[in-house]
Amino acid sequence: MWNFFHKLASPKHFYRVAGKMLPWLGGITLILLLAGLYLGLFVAPPDYQQGESYRIMFVHVPAAWMSLFIYTFMAALSGIAMIWNMKLAEVMVKSSAGLGASFTFLALATGSLWGKPMWGAWWVWDARLTSELILLFLYLGYIALTNAIEDPRVAARAGGILILVGVVNIPIIHYSVEWWNTLHQGPTVTRLDKPAIHASMLWPLLLMALGFQFYYFTVALMNARAEVLERFP
């Protein structure tokens, strides 16, 4: 087991293993997404209150989950890169950042498309929306910083410090934003807080979430392979 991880840490070995895994990951992604979309768009019944428009949830919710997952994952990898000086972890962090920002943007965009028919506004300053927007800024800050530094090694380590500072701050930002919203008595919006979600809607949601997860790993590995070629010729 350990041996496998040790080998994986060497760029050459990683390039080969990742190359072998990619078709499988891509195939699983495709199956999961197709199954999830079919169940979500054709099989699941319309919501008794929101009608058909709730179906955007099957994209919106997994995207929001991914936006949080990727940042946490990047923070964990940055910690690994810093403690064990593992270059491959740096490569993975860099190849995840763009995906994380895209998922965050997707969550915001689908959220505002959903919000217009449901709440009658493209945007409300609700706690959850605001913290998601701040998360987007954190991603963009990381990308801007690592792009501004020329030496890839220094860029990766500076980015790692920024990500770790950010991950300490995310809970603080999240709770402060929630506190701010309750203080100001903004529009009280509760979504997905209905006590239970019916299985016919839950299954496509879970399939889509898993599909997004596999999509992320597929594309991140493809990015990482390209990055490995660039950094360790």
Partner: protein, 225 residues
């Protein structure tokens, strides 16, 4: 131990001396602060009631921007003339040295904002009680701005055009400070209890005092390579 104290005191003395020899530059953050606040009545409305409502936010956003723009001076000059490298070569723990630098920077650029804020608050029509709370939030909040901002400066000091990048890195991290500080002042203005947000600010300050200096030190070692 006395050697360390001597080094820290010497560093503080040097930074303050350097600042007082450039008195003109010292006036910039408070001036900037006053100007931003002045723009709000001109740009929004001179209506007293409205100004009183938005005053906490206006003053705090101005303080935030003033702190942000004064940050550039924190390590830039020392980076350019090589003094920063000497600091990193010192045998004393870098987080402590960096902490002293940030403290000196706060004395020069943060403290003047505290002296000017009551004047601006009176202009915007805040009540005396709210002004007292505003001072408390500034006392707890501006060191936080300096500490968090110093991480961003340390990361970008080696870059040629770090300014706009610094804004992007630091402003999202300032949001909790802004929320708790304006929350406290707004609560004071409407007669609600203010202890909660003030305690939060104090807790954030304690957290930043312990966690920020090592992060600044690590970032500086990276930038000066």
């Amino acid at each position: 131990m006395s050697g360390l104290n001597h080094a820290l005191a010497g560093l503080l003395r040097r930074d303050l001396l350097l600042a007082f020899r450039h008195r003109g530059e010292m006036a910039n953050p408070p001036l900037f602060f006053a100007l931003i606040v002045t723009l709000y009545p001109l740009g929004v409305s001179p209506d007293a009631e409205l100004l009183r409502t938005i005053a906490p936010g206006v003053i705090w956003i101005a303080a935030l921007l003033a702190a942000l723009f004064s940050l550039e001076n924190l390590f830039r000059a020392d980076f350019d003339d090589g003094a920063l490298e000497q600091l990193l070569l010192s045998p004393y723990p870098l987080p402590l040295l960096v902490g002293v630098r940030v403290f000196a920077h706060w004395l020069v650029s943060g403290l003047p904002l505290l002296l000017l804020a009551p004047l601006l608050a009176v202009q915007l029509g805040l009540s005396p009680k709210a002004i007292g709370v505003l001072e408390a939030t500034l006392l707890l909040g501006t060191p936080l701005l300096s500490l968090i901002g110093a991480i961003g400066v340390a990361l970008t000091v080696g870059l040629r055009r770090g300014g706009i990048l610094l804004t992007l890195l630091v402003l999202p991290l300032y949001i909790p400070v802004l929320i708790f500080a304006t929350g406290a002042v707004a609560a004071a203005a409407t007669g609600l209890p203010v202890e909660g947000p003030l305690y939060f600010l104090a807790a954030l300050l304690a957290l930043a005092l312990t966690l920020a200096p090592p992060a600044i030190a690590a970032a500086l070692r990276l930038s000066v390579n």
